[in-house]
């Protein structure tokens, strides 16, 4: 699943450790600082920052330094500890769903299971959660790169991105399970 690390570049599928995990903004949690004219001049979020593992989902080509990092942002998604799953019986099923299959006809589309590895402290593996993607400005490139700990094999990245694409491409409408 993992391959040797290119230390001078970010690639799609790279695992980043100890990075600040960002997410959807909750407008109710924002407090504003107003100036004397009651104009909002600053805002702050009154919650502790969370740090953890994340995976780079941007296309390698679009964040390649040799291409001038074409995108303005780097897309990432957090990793989650498989041991915190509320229904452990489903974990084996989730692992198998890494490879999409028409025959099976269903999948845990928003997750991709990653084998346990010493570099990640989740003893029994983790999942990347596509539903919690976020982005960082491209001028964060060096900072993100400095936290790169793992690089995935090309074939694995292909499977991850196929699942990632299917997660967004799936038919619209509510499907009853």
């Amino acid at each position: 699943m993992y391959t040797s690390i290119e230390k001078d570049a970010l690639r799609q599928g790279d695992i980043i450790s100890n990075t600040q995990l960002l997410g959807a903004i909750n407008l109710k949690e924002i407090s504003f600082i107003n100036d004397y004219n009651n104009k909002k001049v600053r805002w702050q979020y009154n919650l502790s920052p969370e740090f953890g593992y994340a995976m780079v989902l941007s296309h390698s080509c679009e964040i390649a330094p040799e291409n001038g990092v074409k995108l303005t942002s780097i897309i990432l998604a957090p990793l989650r500890n498989i041991d915190t799953a509320t229904d452990p019986k489903k974990i084996e099923e989730l692992k198998k769903s890494n490879i999409l299959s028409q025959e099976i006809g269903y999948s845990f589309l928003k997750y991709y299971f990653l084998d346990p590895v010493p570099e990640i402290e989740f003893a029994n593996g983790s999942v990347v959660d596509f539903s919690k993607i976020y982005s960082l400005k491209k001028n964060s490139y060096e900072e993100v790169l400095s936290h790169k700990i793992l690089q995935l094999q090309g074939s694995v990245v292909e499977n991850i991105i196929l699942k990632y694409s299917a997660y967004f491409y799936r038919s619209t409408g509510l499907i009853k399970i």
Binding site: L71, I91, Y106, L109, K110
Partner: protein, 115 residues
Amino acid sequence: MHSNASLAQNKDSSTRRIIPFPNRRQYSASYTSRSTGIIESQRYSTKEDIEANIYEFIINKNLLENEKEVNPFGSIYLCDLKPDKIDYSYIEKIKIFSNIKDISDTIHFDDGMDD
């Protein structure tokens, strides 16, 4: 050399008037006009004026002077995007799975992130 505040304080000590805290505009004025401005403005000062000036000064000094910070929600320049051509076979591959049932909601993670 006197600071603005001490100069104003000395000139004012005989009259016992309240000195308004110098705001940003006064700092940007010349030494002479600034002093005159402070003395002139003190005639109309109230407690509210002083508090307002102090508040504005603190806000300007501590916050507005950092305007060079990068806006986290700055524009995304779509014109910079030069996407590669997507091979039709890739689209076909994804379309095969467009009707697959997503059962992601049957599992949750108790790790503090909202699900």
